[in-house]
């Protein structure tokens, strides 16, 4: 399943003319893909919880699973719209360093490049001199957007996103990079008006600490 959506995302990426024109990286899939082939148990648990509790308050939502570098998308009624690979912060961690949101990219240290875990009400906004992006956490400058055109070619972000492995998807400064097609066709139309919720699963913290309300939800191991 993971390979299927990665393949679809890869196709969508190839169809995005702007991104395709900006890079000439050779796309070489790695020989040994990672073992995980579907959503993690934690992701399934959050999916069940949000669906059962209506925690999204009739707004669209996405669930970002950092451990599998993937993002599940749902509309306002909770209908699954697919799963896509994402790029996340290069550093493992679930918190944002205080003040990191006001730093320039060059000032952010390696350990500060985390994608913070949690539940965020995301809204579209316009950063300095760029087109509108989906702010996940404005205070820490975390947003969802496609691979930025100005990203260093050394980082090989497109190649990392297209690869079937997810270990190499940790490369950003903390933002969540999504495939251009998913951003344009799903995220922007859905979140454009009233915004929506972004659930980012933790790397190391217990799920109940990041999403306290999940304690009330009966745990169903079979769901995983």
């Amino acid at each position: 399943m993971m390979h299927t959506f990665r393949a679809l995302a890869a196709l969508a990426l190839l169809m995005s003319t702007t991104a395709a024109a900006q890079t000439a990286e050779q796309l070489v899939p790695p020989a040994v893909p990672d073992a995980v082939t579907g959503p993690s148990a934690a992701a399934m648990r959050v999916v069940d919880w949000v669906a059962a509790s209506g925690d999204n308050h009739a707004l669209p939502y996405v669930i970002v699973d950092k451990t599998t570098a993937s993002m599940q998308m749902f509309d306002a009624k909770g209908k699954a719209l697919g799963t896509v690979p994402v790029l996340i912060g290069i550093a493992v961690g679930d918190d944002a360093t205080p003040g990191v949101g006001s730093k320039n990219l060059a000032e952010i240290g390696p350990a500060e490049k985390t994608t913070p875990a949690g539940r965020f009400l995301a809204k579209f906004g316009r950063p300095i001199g760029k087109e509108r992006i989906l702010w996940v956490d404005y205070a820490t400058s975390v947003a969802i957007h496609p691979i930025p055109p100005g990203a260093s070619k050394k980082e090989q972000r497109r190649k990392r996103m297209l690869s079937p492995t997810f270990a190499d998807n940790r490369i950003t400064f903390g933002c969540i990079n999504v495939p251009m097609a998913s951003y344009g066709k799903v995220i922007r139309p859905m979140f454009g008006k009233k915004g929506g919720y972004v659930y980012i699963l933790p790397d190391t913290k217990p799920l109940e600490i990041v999403f306290p309300r999940i304690r009330v939800q009966p745990y169903r191991p079979s769901a995983g």
């Binding site: 906004g125 702010w135 933002c175 990079n177 309300r213 009330v216």
Partner: protein, 103 residues
């Protein structure tokens, strides 16, 4: 006839005495046998009452914890709503371009 009755009288007395004495012995024997069993039943009954009390106490605590959990959940929901509202207002103010994302 009279001699026959006089011969039977002692026998009847002996028979009645044997039956009477035999009956007394049976009751005593039963009491002796029942005594330890009765003691064990009393002990078990006491322990059952203790267990029942413990179970009722545990049930009461579980119900109290469940009620507390529901209250906490409701408070959390209220707080979540407030945080969402604050977040929305904050982000509405921040619509103007002011900072860069962490790419």
């Amino acid at each position: 006839m009279i001699s026959f009755s006089s011969k039977l009288a002692p026998a009847a007395i002996l028979l009645a005495g044997a039956i009477g004495l035999g009956g007394c012995a049976t009751k005593s024997y039963v009491r002796e046998q029942i005594a330890p069993v009765s003691q064990r039943v009393d002990t078990l009954e006491t322990r059952l009452q203790e267990t029942d009390g413990t179970a009722k106490s545990a049930l009461a605590e579980a119900q109290a914890a469940s009620g507390q959990l529901q209250n906490n959940g409701q408070r959390l929901d209220q707080l979540t709503g407030r945080v969402d509202g604050m977040d929305q207002r904050l982000q509405a103010q921040e619509r103007k371009p002011a900072k860069r994302p962490r790419n």
